[in-house]
Symmetry: C2
Subunit: 323 residues, 2 copies
């Protein structure tokens, strides 16, 4: 069987997988050692040729797969967690696995940091600092505050563990209303409106699907109290950023710690840059380049073994569900 590696020439070298690296990993797993042939490409002009003759594709860049002839292709492993751009061009019958879980450790630390920043009023104090205003407030501990986790996948579950250990009361939100994560309570996404008024911090790790797009519209944002802070590390289009910005401008939210944006890089003239209470990181806070490739490779090698034994793959995306 043939595995083709498609790298993104514009990505940092730390995110390129070489034939040698992959072969090294196969070599230490005897059942995989001599079962696969390998190729690698980073020249988009050559991509069609490689896709025409591979059985398995590892891809470090987004491809509109239905634009290619892929007669032998059975499975694609991608390096991202979000896959909405892949699914817009997905050939029927091909298995898709993503990098869910690889962002967990760093993502959970970022979410814990953001939740604590709200507890200590940092978004407000940053505004005071900019205006040279000394205005202390003597609030309580983070312990006991309520964090709503929208999505309890790889990142959400890791965050739930850290937040719970820190004494936060964590409410998970999933499609089914069930999850295995370390949460005090898990609710169905359609029960969301009832809990929003109680929440201290809303954290979204949600993927973008037809069901999640614009889930946090103006109406739902209005159900939050002015003490609530918002943390968005999943897909941006789950939220109405304009409505969120309007509410921040009038002090109807405690702030927003954002890593993702409707357009990236965020245009220099976007009013969000200087919206009060916004703390921005440029879509990098969940990615650890020193560990990212190795994390994806772990998923892939595990999946190759499962694939060889005809077992269900890890991180398999359901195209109908969208994640």
């Amino acid at each position: 069987m043939h595995i083709h590696i498609e790298n993104d020439a514009s990505a940092p070298r730390a995110l390129h997988l070489s034939v040698e690296q992959l072969q090294l990993q196969l070599d230490v797993h005897p059942p995989l050692r001599s079962h696969f042939t390998l190729s690698e490409n980073r020249d988009p002009a050559q991509t069609a040729d490689f896709l025409a003759r591979c059985d398995i594709l590892w891809s470090g860049r987004k491809l509109a797969l239905d634009q290619f002839s892929t007669p032998r292709l059975g499975w694609v492993q991608v390096m991202s967690a979000g896959v909405e751009q892949w699914l817009a061009h997905w050939p029927q019958g091909v298995t898709l696995t993503n990098a869910s879980g690889v962002h967990g450790d760093k993502g959970a630390e970022f979410i814990l940091m953001a939740a604590l920043m709200f507890n200590f009023g940092i978004p407000g104090f940053l505004q005071d600092q900019a205006q040279r205003v000394w205005r202390p407030t003597f609030g309580g501990c983070a312990r006991g505050k309520i964090v709503l986790l929208l999505g309890v996948g790889g990142i959400g579950a890791a965050a739930a563990t850290l937040l719970t250990a820190q004494g936060y009361r964590v409410i998970g939100v999933t499609r089914s209303g069930q999850c295995d994560a370390n949460v005090a309570r898990c609710i169905r996404i359609d029960a969301l409106d009832e809990v929003l008024p109680q929440v201290d911090v809303v954290v979204s790790t949600l993927p973008l699907t037809p069901q999640t797009r614009n889930l946090f519209d103006r109406r739902r944002l209005d159900l939050l109290t002015a003490r609530a802070g918002i943390v968005i590390v999943g897909r941006a289009d789950v939220f109405d950023y304009s409505a969120m910005r309007e509410k921040l401008n009038v002090g109807e939210l405690a702030g927003a710690v954002l890593d993702v944006y409707p357009q990236e890089p965020l245009p220099a003239d976007d009013p969000l840059w200087h919206t009060p209470g916004v703390v921005m990181t440029p879509h990098c806070s969940l990615d650890d380049h020193s560990a990212y490739l190795a994390g994806c490779l772990d998923v892939f090698i595990d999946n190759l073994a499962r694939f060889r034994h005809g077992q269900p793959l890890r991180n398999q995306v359901d195209p109908a569900r969208g994640y």
Copy 2:
């Protein structure tokens, strides 16, 4: 025996201890119930009269005790952790106990937040945001990074527990080189210089004493690398703020998360307000007014029981040592 409560009329009411509150606490402790008479005052013109006839003083405001006649006074419980202003006017032979430990829970959470903020480059991203610059960096997890805790008292020990649980490698610094806290290593204060070049985050909870004043002078700041961040929640005068500001201005430190200042409130014309990499809170991040009085009262009631039984008191300050 007579206990006098001296409140600070200018402090928030949540920090005033009333005779009724104290009596309620005594009532639930049978050995203390009818042993003490109580008084309360918040008028500075009356203070001398009350001090002249009390055996025990609870004080919510700073007093130059050696300016008063205190013939019966044997013990003072104060509501702050730092006591350098008391010790400058201390009558010989009087026992002093402080509020050490009451700031632990909230202080530890603040320190954890600040350490995580450095890991995620927040001080740098805030500068980029102010200039509308999109400049991602893909660093690693906080886990494994080194935090140096200057002082491992009530706040430091609580912080050590949270940081260690989060995977930080914590080095404690104490006078003796020993501590009971949850640290990977504890060193003597005079071994400080050797570890400074390795440190990711320096956290100071140190009190102000002749030994700690200006401990972090220009020379010691220069031993830190440009990736190091500084968190100061103890006394400000342990650090040379001017030297720190100069280093921040030229990018020789990753940033500073500060709750305390050489002068408070910080004057509006102080250049620190707009120094790059500085995140400021106005001396409020360790104090939880909803729990503070109760925390101090716990120490005091425990100490009253010890006092009655002739046992050593908790949180007893050594005037020679300064904390």
